[in-house]
């Protein structure tokens, strides 16, 4: 990343010259960037552009063919315990018989005992996480009965129950309507006061309202994280058929981080 490192800012994710290939097909090529503490980074790009691959590399679920990734100054595997991860909702079985509380408690795994019984503290932390996303009233409801926006909040609560220093979100607003999406980003903005947030989205317009940085991935990292999203950048990413919708807030974003 080109941005000058401010005094006291700690790098959270450092990615150097990272390349990754699935069975010979190059998915990411020579990617470089750094995410600093309390950044709110949106990774955007077309489908199959390598966004989710990048996320999985950061989580240590995939190993880079080339290059080096450090998270919280250590290996991705060791850093996992400090990351709250929210997967794409579509990867979950929508009919799975599980209560909201049980889903959120999964965020407490790894804190507890070997056999995996949850302690009072675990339940307390899970309730706290549910309260932060305003879903505590739903804790005894089946997860399968929730709307798209509600289940997203619960999955955020599960990530928060980890007590993470960073949130990693994969397409958090896929398949929800605009009102829910705005509400969701307001929630993330609040959470950003205390933690670093990295999210992956194919939806560039809405993310730009709220995030402090944008990284555009289409095999290569086409644009460095920056506050300015230009029409040319979008065209380079998606082709010329995409029209940029301007948000006046984009300009205002500049002051926030410096």
């Amino acid at each position: 990343m080109d941005r000058e490192k401010a005094i006291g800012e700690k790098p959270v994710i450092e990615i150097e010259n990272v390349s990754f290939a699935y069975d010979g097909a190059l998915a990411l090529e020579q990617v470089n960037f750094t995410v600093y503490e309390r950044d709110f980074l949106s990774i955007v790009g077309p489908n199959a552009g390598g966004k989710t691959t990048l996320l999985k590399l950061i989580l240590g679920l995939l190993q880079p063919r080339q290059g080096n990734i450090r998270v919280f100054g250590t290996s991705p595997e060791k850093a996992r315990s400090r990351i709250g991860y929210m997967p794409q909702r579509t990867t979950l079985d929508p009919l799975f018989p599980v209560s909201v509380m049980d889903v959120v408690l999964m965020g407490r795994l790894g804190h507890g005992t070997r056999l995996g019984f949850y302690s009072r503290v675990d339940r307390l932390k899970a309730r706290e996480a549910l309260q932060r996303v305003e879903m505590d009233d739903f804790r005894n409801r089946p997860f399968s009965s929730l709307s798209g926006g509600q289940s997203q909040r619960v999955l955020i609560a599960r990530a928060l129950a980890v007590e993470p220093a960073m949130l990693l979100l994969d397409e958090p607003t896929a398949n929800v309507d605009v009102a829910v999406e705005n509400e969701f980003y307001e929630l993330l903005k609040k959470l950003n006061d205390t933690m670093t947030i990295v999210l992956v989205t194919h939806d560039l317009g809405f993310a730009s309202h709220y995030v402090t940085h944008v990284a555009c991935v289409n095999r290569k990292l086409l644009a460095h994280p920056t506050c300015e999203i230009s029409g040319e950048m979008i065209n380079a990413l998606y082709g010329s058929q995409v029209h940029m919708i301007r948000h006046d807030e984009i300009q205002g974003r500049e002051d926030r981080h410096d």
């Binding site: 679920l61 997967p87 990867t91 018989p97 599980v98 209560s99 049980d102 999964m106």
Partner: protein
């Protein structure tokens, strides 16, 4: 049906049969729930069919070699565990080849079983009882063995409930939380293997897969939590095996097949009813 209730007070084999059904139901309800929610029905199917190999070899050793201790149930346990490990290892090393190995284990196990049983006197009776169940011929020794297996499976299945729930619901998240997902997967397959052995006596190799999945699938629409599904599918399995026994006894039908037909009918009714309810609600 009336004959069944008249005879059950006098005939020990009927009481043993009923007890076998109840024992198997507890494991079946718990592990069947994991199998259905983790979507490893085909893995369970492969394990079930492969145990014919173990049963065939054990029976051959009993009759030809005179190894009286080598009960077909012991052979079944060994074969089931080997199959579970083979399938689990292939999944860990080469995930995309899992379905191929499932097919291979399924067929190779059966083939070995058929060869050994063919070379053992009493061939067709043994084969029929392995394939279609022998709940009316359970001996006290077998009951004790099954009780042991049952306790083992239920203890592990409940002790690791939260971990299995996490792995079944979202394996990737569980891994990121530091769970040894591969270990729990292998453990779950081993528990599935032991449950399959328990069910083989009740309904036979060919129909095990139905009893493992249909009660759990029928319980799912009524369940808000995973343990609800376990409790309800255990209850269903007890009802299916008991009514299978009762209904087949008078007209002299095979109890295993009767049990499966009842389970299938209930499953279809539940699926149809919840579809209709969803349509009415919408």
């Amino acid at each position: 049906m009336i004959e069944f209730f008249q005879d059950i007070t006098q005939q020990t084999f009927l009481r043993y049969a009923l007890l076998t059904g109840v024992l198997a139901s507890v494991s079946c309800g718990i592990i069947g729930t994991y199998v259905v929610t983790r979507r490893i029905t085909s893995v369970a199917g492969a394990i079930a069919h492969s145990i014919l190999g173990g049963m065939g070899i054990a029976r051959y050793c009993q009759v030809i070699c005179g190894w009286e201790w080598f009960h077909p149930l012991i052979g079944a346990v060994i074969a089931a565990l080997i199959s579970a490990f083979v399938i689990a290892l292939v999944r860990l090393k080469a995930r995309q080849r899992e379905d191929t190995i499932i097919g291979a284990v399924w067929a190779i196990g059966m083939a070995i079983g058929v060869l050994f049983i063919f070379k053992t006197p009493g061939y067709s009776d043994d084969l029929m009882s392995y394939l279609f169940g022998s709940i009316l011929m359970v001996t006290p020794d077998e009951l004790w063995m099954m009780a042991g297996l049952d306790i083992l499976v239920v203890a592990f299945g409940l002790l690791f409930y939260n971990k299995f729930l996490a792995v079944c619901f979202d394996e990737e998240f569980a891994l990121l939380r530091g769970l040894r997902v591969d270990f729990y997967h292998i453990l779950l397959l081993c528990l599935t293997a032991l449950t399959v052995v328990l069910l083989v006596t009740v309904v036979g190799i060919i129909m095990v897969i139905a009893l493992l999945t249909l009660p759990a699938a029928a319980a799912a629409p009524f369940s808000r939590k995973l343990w609800h599904m376990m409790a309800l599918s255990t209850l269903f399995t007890v009802l299916f095996t008991a009514s299978g026994l009762a209904l087949s006894y008078g007209p002299d039908l095979p109890p295993g097949a009767t049990t499966i037909v009842i389970a299938g009918a209930v499953y279809i009714i539940v699926v149809a009813a919840s579809r209709i309810r969803a349509k009415v609600a919408a």
